[in-house]
Each structure stands twice: as structure tokens, then as C-alpha cells.
């Protein structure tokens, strides 16, 4: 499963919805995430991708769509491997 597919699975898990959102679809506007589901999703991303997301990176806009989450995870993983 590619990265977007893994993210979509996490979104489905924390939202309790059966259908996955489109990559560019706003997860908040479409009802997949509320404030608490967002927090759960961040915890699942940390677990599944083996990263630590610092509190300073917890800007809701970073996590508003699958595509944005992928961009963030790529940057985070690049930073981790460089460090």
C-alpha cells in the first residue's frame, strides 16, 4: 500500500467512515475529522509511520487533507533521516 493509501486507512479508522476521502478533499469540511478525531489521527500517524510529531507541528491546516498529510510526512521523514 502506498503512503496515501496508508493515510486514507488511518483517516477511515479514526473517523469511523467506510469510504475513504479523496486526496485533496478537506477532512474537516467533509466531516471526516473533528478536533478530537484529529488528535487520534496524529497519534495513529506517529505509530504507523514510526515518527514523533512535535507539538509545534500540530497546526490543523497541515492535516486538512490526505495530500497535505503526505507532504508533511515526507518532510518529517526526510528531516529525521538527515538528522
Amino acid at each position: 500500500m502506498n503512503k496515501q493509501g496508508k493515510i486514507a486507512e488511518i483517516v477511515r479508522k479514526v473517523s469511523g467512515k467506510s469510504a475513504a476521502p479523496d486526496p485533496e478533499e478537506s477532512l474537516f469540511d467533509s466531516g471526516y475529522l473533528d478536533s478530537f478525531a484529529l488528535t487520534d489521527m496524529v497519534a495513529e500517524l506517529e505509530k504507523d509511520f514510526g515518527i514523533k510529531i512535535p507539538d509545534a507541528d500540530l497546526n490543523p491546516r497541515r492535516f486538512d487533507s490526505i495530500a497535505r498529510i503526505e507532504v508533511y510526512l515526507d518532510a518529517r521523514q526526510t528531516k529525521a533521516s538527515a538528522g
Binding site: 488528535t39 507539538d55 509545534a56
Partner: protein
């Protein structure tokens, strides 16, 4: 070491239930309960001030402390006082009969009473008994125009108090963990006019991580596991948030005392109101551990651990 000798509280008589509030806001009654877990909140009467509520809570606290106590310092937390300055601390001290002693305002909003308790533990050896009071009239800012129903449903009015002194007995304050980060100052704020402005997603995300981390920090300093804590007395911001914090600490949700369903979010007053109610209902046994925690605008957050002597 300083100890908390007694708690006190005061909530206004008027009850604003969800049905009445829903009519005012033009929303569904059930939606209010579903979103925030609040059924009703108390609203100050016309002319009833932050100082009025504070004085009543402080008198309740001093009466429960028993023998006549003369504080050497008064700390007052309020983010909703009627004017920019002076803050209410000096007036509250004077009305309690303590004019002349230092009275300091802590306008920290929701975390103010937690910071006050921690400061009182440090200052009691210097000043003598410290009276910590938190008093809020949040219903005004909550219902200010432009009306935001997501905010208007959350808040209520009330006051709480605690007396901290060096004398033995009561709840010995073992450790504190206090934190502030101004990077989030715009995410939860009350300007000179208008309603409380809140980036709810940011607040929940940060609080969901920072509160458990602060509790774990303060417990670790005393070599205590969360499971060993008798009760968590937390700022009553949101029932879902308290449940999340319990889950993050792997403790049952019933370890967190909750009264938000009856009072809503009374900002800095809520933690001391909860403490006063819990201490009235439960007789703590020697050795019982009580953990206080709060998070609020600033952001300011932290935890305090205490042990029944």
C-alpha cells in the same frame, strides 16, 4: 512544605439550561449536550460582580479552614473581571477584612488557579497563609456579539478558593509543573470587546497532548504512576477532553472528577470549584494522592501533585 488547608466555592443561583440557551441561540437542545457535555450553567445576577463571587467563595473556604486564619497574601485569578485595572484582588482582600496585605491579580484565564496554587506553595513560607481565589463571569464574553454559538454554549460563572499554608495537615503540595508558550496566544483569546475567540482544533490538539505530558511530568518527579492517584481534579473545559486525558494516562475516566455537566466551563474557577465539591463529598485518607491539572489561554498549562497528610 506547604499544604492546602481548605477549599471553597460559590456559584450564582440562576441556572441557564440547554433548552433556554438553545432558544436564545437558535440551535437544537440536543446538539449542545452532544458537542460539549454540558446540560446547564450558572449565570451571575445583574450587578453581581467577579468580586462578589470571589468573596463568597473565599468566605466558604476560610470557614472550612476552621480556626480564624489571617492570610498574609491573596492571589486572585480572573480573566473576566469588569475593568482593565485595578484588577479585583485588592477589592476582594479589602472586603474580606484583609486590607493592607499584598493582593495580586493573576489574569491567566483557565490555568490561573493552578498557577496560583503552585505560587502559593512557594510563597507561603515567606508571607504566611496564602488565599488563592479564582472568580469568573464568563457568560458575558461568551454571549458577546458577534455571537458564536460554538463558544456561547461552553461557559458559565462561578468562583473557587483554596487556602495554602505551612501548617501541617491538609493536602501537602509535593510538586508542580508549570508551562507557558506564547506561540499560541492568538488561538484562544478575549480582546477588549467581543466574544471569546477560539481556534478549537488547535486548542484541543495542544491540550490533548500537553495536559497528559504535564501530569506525567509532575508524577515522575514524585516517582508515582497515574494509577496511584486517587482523583484528578482538572480544569473543567470539555468532558471529551477530560476523557481523552484519562485515556492517554491509561486510567479510568471516573478517576477524573467532573461537574461540567452542571456548571459548564467557568475558566480558572472550575478547578477549585471541582476541588471544593470533591472534598465535600469525599473524605480523603492519609496518603491519598490528588493531582490538579489545567490548560488555557496563553497557552498556560501544568499540573500540581498533592498528598493527604
Amino acid at each position: 512544605m506547604a499544604s492546602i488547608r481548605a477549599f471553597g466555592r460559590c456559584v450564582p443561583e440562576r441556572v441557564l439550561g440547554n433548552e433556554e440557551l438553545a432558544r436564545l441561540l437558535g440551535c437544537e437542545t440536543d446538539w449542545i449536550l452532544q458537542v460539549c457535555g454540558i446540560r446547564e450553567r450558572r449565570i451571575a445576577a445583574d450587578g453581581e460582580t467577579v468580586a462578589d463571587l470571589a468573596v463568597a467563595a473565599a468566605q466558604d473556604c476560610l470557614a472550612k479552614a476552621g480556626a480564624a486564619v489571617s492570610p498574609g497574601l491573596v492571589l486572585v485569578s480572573s480573566g473576566s473581571a469588569e475593568r482593565r485595572f485595578p484588577g479585583p484582588a485588592a477589592k476582594i482582600a479589602e472586603r474580606l477584612g484583609f486590607a493592607g496585605i499584598p493582593a495580586i491579580d493573576l489574569p491567566l484565564a483557565s490555568a490561573g488557579s493552578l498557577f496560583g496554587l503552585s505560587l502559593a506553595a512557594q510563597l507561603a513560607p515567606v508571607y504566611g497563609p496564602v488565599l488563592v481565589v479564582a472568580s469568573e463571569k464568563m457568560s458575558g464574553p461568551a454571549m458577546a456579539e458577534p455571537l458564536d454559538k460554538n463558544v456561547a454554549i461552553l461557559f458559565g460563572d462561578g468562583a473557587g478558593a483554596a487556602l495554602v499554608s505551612e501548617a501541617s495537615g491538609g493536602l501537602e503540595i509535593l510538586a508542580s509543573a508549570l508551562h507557558s508558550d506564547g506561540a499560541y496566544a492568538n488561538d484562544l483569546r478575549l480582546e477588549q470587546s467581543g466574544p471569546v475567540l477560539m481556534n478549537g482544533r488547535s486548542v484541543i490538539m495542544q491540550a490533548s497532548r500537553k495536559i497528559p505530558a504535564a501530569i506525567e511530568e509532575v508524577l515522575a518527579r514524585s516517582g508515582v504512576e497515574p494509577e496511584a492517584v486517587r482523583v484528578f481534579l482538572m480544569h473543567q473545559a470539555n468532558q471529551n477532553l477530560m476523557d481523552r486525558v484519562a485515556k492517554a494516562l491509561s486510567v479510568q475516566t471516573d478517576r477524573f472528577y467532573t461537574n461540567i455537566v452542571r456548571y459548564g466551563n467557568t475558566s480558572s474557577a472550575s478547578m477549585l470549584i471541582a476541588a471544593a465539591e470533591w472534598s465535600e463529598a469525599v473524605e480523603a485518607s492519609p496518603g491519598d494522592l490528588i493531582c490538579f491539572a489545567a490548560f488555557g489561554a496563553g497557552f498556560h498549562w501544568g499540573a500540581v501533585l498533592a498528598r493527604q497528610l
